[in-house]
Subunit: 412 residues, 4 copies
Amino acid sequence: MSYLKNKIINDPIYGFVHIPFESIWKIMEHPYFQRLRRISQLGLSSLVYPGANHNRFHHAIGSMHLMNKSIEILKSKNHNITEEEHEGSLIAILLHDIGHGPFSHALENSIVKNLSHEKISIMFMHKLNVEFNGKLSLAIDIFTRKYKKKFLHQLISSQLDVDRLDYLNRDSFYSGVNEGIINSNRIIEMLNIKENELVIDYKGIYSIEKFIIARKLMYWQVYLHKTVLSAEHTLMHILQRAKHLIGKNNTIYTTPSFKTFLYQKEEITESFFIANDLLEEFALIDDYDILVCMKNWTKENDKVLSILSKTIINRNLLKMIPIKEEEREKELKRIRKVAMHKFNVHEEDVKYLVFSITTKNETYNFNDEEIVFLKKNNNLVKLSDTKNEFSMNRKNAKIIKHYICYPKGCVI
Amino acid sequence: MSYLKNKIINDPIYGFVHIPFESIWKIMEHPYFQRLRRISQLGLSSLVYPGANHNRFHHAIGSMHLMNKSIEILKSKNHNITEEEHEGSLIAILLHDIGHGPFSHALENSIVKNLSHEKISIMFMHKLNVEFNGKLSLAIDIFTRKYKKKFLHQLISSQLDVDRLDYLNRDSFYSGVNEGIINSNRIIEMLNIKENELVIDYKGIYSIEKFIIARKLMYWQVYLHKTVLSAEHTLMHILQRAKHLIGKNNTIYTTPSFKTFLYQKEEITESFFIANDLLEEFALIDDYDILVCMKNWTKENDKVLSILSKTIINRNLLKMIPIKEEEREKELKRIRKVAMHKFNVHEEDVKYLVFSITTKNETYNFNDEEIVFLKKNNNLVKLSDTKNEFSMNRKNAKIIKHYICYPKGCVI
Amino acid sequence: MSYLKNKIINDPIYGFVHIPFESIWKIMEHPYFQRLRRISQLGLSSLVYPGANHNRFHHAIGSMHLMNKSIEILKSKNHNITEEEHEGSLIAILLHDIGHGPFSHALENSIVKNLSHEKISIMFMHKLNVEFNGKLSLAIDIFTRKYKKKFLHQLISSQLDVDRLDYLNRDSFYSGVNEGIINSNRIIEMLNIKENELVIDYKGIYSIEKFIIARKLMYWQVYLHKTVLSAEHTLMHILQRAKHLIGKNNTIYTTPSFKTFLYQKEEITESFFIANDLLEEFALIDDYDILVCMKNWTKENDKVLSILSKTIINRNLLKMIPIKEEEREKELKRIRKVAMHKFNVHEEDVKYLVFSITTKNETYNFNDEEIVFLKKNNNLVKLSDTKNEFSMNRKNAKIIKHYICYPKGCVI
Amino acid sequence: MSYLKNKIINDPIYGFVHIPFESIWKIMEHPYFQRLRRISQLGLSSLVYPGANHNRFHHAIGSMHLMNKSIEILKSKNHNITEEEHEGSLIAILLHDIGHGPFSHALENSIVKNLSHEKISIMFMHKLNVEFNGKLSLAIDIFTRKYKKKFLHQLISSQLDVDRLDYLNRDSFYSGVNEGIINSNRIIEMLNIKENELVIDYKGIYSIEKFIIARKLMYWQVYLHKTVLSAEHTLMHILQRAKHLIGKNNTIYTTPSFKTFLYQKEEITESFFIANDLLEEFALIDDYDILVCMKNWTKENDKVLSILSKTIINRNLLKMIPIKEEEREKELKRIRKVAMHKFNVHEEDVKYLVFSITTKNETYNFNDEEIVFLKKNNNLVKLSDTKNEFSMNRKNAKIIKHYICYPKGCVI
């Protein structure tokens, strides 16, 4: 493989990342992709783990790097992958997250409706494909699972894809929670193909177990960390509140870029988004808009918006307590009453200040397309059929927890 | 030493950082300090090293951690340091950078004049001291070098202080440029006190050499990296241009927080800053204001402001070429002429697009207060008197380089 | 805590290890302890992992270091531990492995009978206690579980002791199998005491899960690695063969130190060992004796001894194939017949060349004294009662595997 | 590049090392090469750095790995290197240290005379070349600098070769002295060829500076560490004493393998070695012979041999004090007198117990073939002509120190 000379990116995790195709470099230079520099990978997690300021830009490049290594390993095992497929796969993974909005997930459930970042990623890919004269067509087919060589899609999106391999190590590295460190090198060395599907050489079974456990631990310690959840749900409620105020014809601060979305009175569903050609507007918003809005909203007249914004800006976050499902409604009611009194707000407004959250962490999905191992005798075996080698307990694979969030001082 | 229970911060570099005093925790919770989360440690370096998104908040805590370890080592060597001095030193280092503005240095030479971040740090300390009922008085004395135990100040600010120990490792870690990694543990183990001054046990001499070389390498590879410099000087010119336009009564976009500074027509010197009591306003601005401004300035009518802002936002940076000092003026003139023609701008405006930069990197300052070693025989020896152990060449200690920056396509 | 000045040991895993007591240093200087430099930690594992040349000496010091940190953490949580108990615990852990013989376990099942290294460790402790005028009495009580503060013994030997914390990281580090890396710092931070027993703060539950999984993975990838097992069982058979030949009055090579044990015709049981006061002789043998013996045995007339010794010295190891328990005897018989013919050896001799091995790996023992967590509400909960948080499957906790070993070229 | 399937070696430093040629694997399996497992890389350094138990076997494989990466980088820069040259270079570096004797350098200046390990390496290569039917001919030409493509030899042996790149990182890693860590990846990325000579792309200049400083620091902290030197010179004196006793017709203990060398009464020069065909005998000795000898010599009647052997076995090493050159003889005389009295030994014998050592550490040799940089304008520049970028001081490049060693208790 010959790399582009002088196109090397420093990555504290992998050392040097080489850029293997001219097209990859060109896409990286595009303002759509540069915008990912301003989208934090872990939303508001840096409020808990102050080192976790990494962004989607770096994650996308890291994933592309692992994709490249994976394809080289598969080729060295004599699987046929053409230069076009190689390039297409790399473009696809590079752009897999380009549809993420501010703080990765903040707009979902507040500003947009049923419009996942994957859908927006595909819109960006189509738009870039026009600019790049069809160069992205194969990448789009791979990304949308239409391409015949299914394993290429599986490398990008499955229960063991390069996306997860990159983000586990990257999130561990930057947060300092080293429970998530996995041996991505070893896992990639074990990749193989059988009947057009991605499989793992059987002797890699322990590395896979470690990978699944590491992912679970990162869920509990970082992605579903109580304080992180509290902050991210607060952000969602802040945006909902802002929308609510605007819906009632109040004028509140916004940055120019964010105005289209914030002041839009109709629901921004997928069809509305397409019909109004919002992609170019979407490409202008990032973490910086939301944060500048929140800084200004700390001074808004609306008490709810101002209180919530301060909890984020000054990191004086809502409290969050675990609650049994059956006691949730009663307790919500009770705490809301206290908050109404304390902050002198109405019943319809207090629900922005006091609310409940439900989390679930599924270590590994036994119903979805499974991780499959290739034994020395050429047989295949699903992860769920390797029970006596795996520590994993099928029963507890899915754990659900409930919490209530509320401003400090509201529980008696 | 007993730590505050449950007050532990994850740091990928040190593992866990314990908070040893209630006062430290209280200061960390203050909005002034929380604002440091929004001030990047390395300005625009992340445009070159995409992992370098760490901020002043984390650096301040890391430095406090090293200060704490240093004091514990000195105490274990039977030097008398009282609990109050211990606490005061930690407060002082925690706040040493609190006066930094957006992107650490962007306002200097553009928005404010002769107003260093140290001066503003001291103003913040005094303000907090009022809020905390005099708790910071000793910290202020130590920081401003008024306290009798001189070594406490030297730990905070000297040619071998915990500030440098933290930032070298932190900047290396996040940028992935591992040339800067030093053994801060080993150096701290070697700290000692002699006649009220900070000294190093002689056997630590090799670690000190490595520290000085590591710092030099970080200067060349990161702090003075051509592309980083180009971006940071462009940012300075963007702000100067914005000021210039406002000076001519144009109205350009600003975030509300930044308005006070951007639209101020008088020079913001130290005395003006104090006279107008600007500290509280200053506490409201951070990287996010500047970046949102630049995003909007990409669409300003003023060609110069728009071009320059796009170079940063879309990372299509100015080119930068090394130049001999004697050829600088001639070459500047020549390139400016090309740019005037290419962008159709006036002579007085082109200087914002095409300009020169001078850098100097001094590995170690032989004139300043030197690093001093304590030999086994209890004698002191200055670093500059250990010539035959050190590789360092005194003559080349200071290296000066010149460059010209210009928009792509302006050199024929 | 004040450390002994200038008594610092470099450890690539922990950085610096300080020696906190004069007694610890004195014991480390004793020839009994220095001998541990010549006992490899992982026996013959370096034949598979060439980096794994670390020894019991370094492990003992590393464990002492973790013990010291554990005690400091417990003290900082206001548990009363006297200076004598602190010192005694450190002596006990320092000496916990001093009874190990060559290649850690080579003599067991070959040269000695029912004589564990723990028993010999205790004998060494008593002998040193005489030399050190009773200084080790408390350490012996702690080690032998006689001391009232049970948690001190549990730190040394339980399902979560500092021995395991050290060896998992150390074996991972030196072998390069990073599946075993655990966050020993974090685990130690979570240690606590309740009713005189060692417990873990509940929020450490994820670190504990990672610890148990890491241990399991190290078992499969290193400690029970097929090739390692093959080599270690070959070594056992070599020693058995040597004993057998001597029993038949052959004279074979031995180093002087090893002669007492090798040429001893009676079984060396615990009582025989004590009755004949063999401790001083035992203190003279180490890996170097056995390896020099094997080098010379490659040239012995006895074909079996020579073949087996060459497999180790030239690393041309016996093959090892997994076998179902029910087919083992039949297959053993078949392969032995081939080997008898191939090497022209008798039926009674071939069993040294072709033999079976059984391994079991128990991730965590649910019957033994369990790991116990301390919840925030001050209640205790056993690890086995945290089912819905743990991935671990109780049923598959114990896995048994069978293998047959034989010289290359014996399977048709 | 396709690698041998299943031929992967774990290396804690590089992760996985792949074996790129069948010949490499075959040579690695040869008993000559397996013997390197029993030759420690750093002699007796583990007496100071207990983690430094790595051996020549691992270093040889690591160097081969870096050679392979270097050649792949050079090929990717469009330099023509044939498959045969690639393979030959890898064989040459794999065997570059195969001529090392016990503890790497112990026999030099004691058992053999003017017979460097390089000379013996070449003898081994020739012998293996016969066994491998001429497969090593090209490797031998490269190793002995006869091959036309000079850069291949320079990669193996020059002031910037893969040998140094591997050992600096390896010795740092195992000893825990992290001053020696270098960025071998980055340096290898910068390798280039100009006029058949190995050069470095100019932008790698900082990595080269770090490499030279790292090497210097490793010299002072590890390779020339006072205590290490004391131990290694003691070992030399032990072997000289043993030879001396045998020369006087005493019978002392030896392992069988070592007898040929130890009891040889003539000087073992290169010509004697060849004339008596000692290579096969040499292939049988390793660290284990010497150490078992020393263990037994602790009980020899000869007081000098016994005292010296105990200093190593029980790590009760000779003291070592720095001394000015002009005072050396006088002081030696004085201490020898004390020792003669203390140990009741003759004048001719005391010189084995009390002796002087001279060390020199040359950071970089300005007279030897220099490191050369390739500038962007295609010009070459020697390292010594980059003065104003390098911190290195030419004058102090070579530092000479003198010491006297003596048994504890001999200085009044």
